[in-house]
């Protein structure tokens, strides 16, 4: 209960039990929460770890299905440099990233 008071509640959602466990254990959240992990290098490269599938792939827009969001990456000259089971490596000129909760 102490932890909860200290933590600033930015999200509208209530933190789940998993999230609280992750917080208290100081462990990396993407592992315990099974979230996707995105790593940008400027706007040139992005690696998406722990994704589910690709929904759309064009030069201007790539939509990736993850848990629990659907991530929309927009830009120009987008290219999938490598596609493996866990890691998606995208290069190009990224202009925006959007997270959408699945309906």
């Amino acid at each position: 209960m102490k932890n909860r008071k200290k933590q600033p509640q930015k999200d509208i959602q209530k933190p789940t039990i998993r999230e609280r466990v992750a917080d208290s254990l100081d462990a990396s959240k993407e592992v315990i929460l099974d979230f996707a992990r995105l790593e940008f290098i400027g706007n040139r490269e992005v690696t998406v770890e722990n994704y589910k599938s690709i929904v759309e792939y064009t030069e201007k827009q790539i939509i990736v299905e993850t848990n629990p969001h659907r991530i929309k990456i927009q830009g120009a000259e987008l290219e999938i440099k490598s596609i493996a089971r866990e890691i998606l490596y995208i290069t190009g000129k990224i202009s925006s990233v959007e997270f959408k909760l699945e309906v």
Binding site: S53, I54, V55, E56, Y57, T58, E59, L78, E79, I80, K81, S82, I83, A84, R85
Partner: protein
Amino acid sequence: MSVSDILGYIRGYVVIRAEGCFLERFLNICMRRGILLRNVKRRGDTCIDACISIQGFKALRQIAKKTKTRVTIKSRHGLPFFLYRYRKRRPVIVGLVLFAAVLWYLSTHIMGIDIVGNERIPTAEIERGLKAVGLYRGAATGKIEPKSVQNKMMTGFDDIAWIGINIKGSRAYIEVKERIDTKRIEGTDIPCNLVAARDGIIRLLEVKEGQTIVKINDMVEKGDLLVSGAVDSTKDGIRYAHSFGEVYADTRYQKSRTYPLEYTEKLYTGEETKRISLTLFGKEIKLFLNKNAPYEYCDKAESKTEYGIFGGKIPSVFVSRTDFKEYVPEKKTRTLKQAVDLGRKELEAELKKEIPPDAEVKDVEVTYTESGSKAVEVAVKISCTENIAVQSVIDKIENMNYNDINENT
């Protein structure tokens, strides 16, 4: 070029073009089946290009059928395709095998031996000793045990106090520490004897420390004990002393040589030719055409230069140069007196080099005997007086024996 690029090249990859309406689905299935796709590029609405491994490509057929995608190969890259293209060229395969064999041989066998630290023992002798215990050019590095070579060398050479053997790659580094020279005893507290450096007759004894063994007018041979470092006295028993002092003796240096009265002299014409040949891994390649000597009468002088590949790591390339100097032989005669004079001059000069500079020359004697009518044998004898005492450390074993003898008596 990164490591993954090199690995990709060795394994080989195919650039494919996939055409169809459900390309995202195609990609997802590939991903789920663990087929790695690289450099996926959009080429319009219904078309993508991608790189895929050979094994991946084989597994692609089923997926293509399922997603109604048409897959075509755009280009092939990598070693497997290269080898496939050249599979019928036997020399290429032979060359590759040979390359691997040579590489294996050069990296697992001793290609050079570096010996450092020896001052008195000739390098060639150490090399011979090393060869006898299994360390030589061409020996497999895996079979050499530095420890055993070290032990064998140390027992085999009396003069080696310590020997270090380092095998680095295909080169052996030998570090030799020789036993301390008898002349180099510096500390005044080290027990030592005085021994004779040369044969001679003792004339004067100036012993400052140690027990004198020899008397004046004694004949001594090289290596004989002159002054003992083990001083025996009735009061204190045996005491070890650092013997020093001077022992002057009459010594004799002599040399003889036969001089023919008829001889040929070389008159150099000034004509010279040089020939260069290359030695690659023990095989000589001559860089000239004429195999015969260029002149009827000539002097040959050979010089060899070693060129190591990779910073001297593989000492297998030699460039040897042979210089030929032409001369015209001319028959000459000399009188008996001329021959004797020449002999005296030559032999005296040679002997002077042997005589230590502090020796006092007392007499020079020249004798000659005619051998037949065409030659004369000239002998030169030089008598000197010099200090023949040389310090030598008392050996531990010797000194133990000495103790034993004294205890028994």
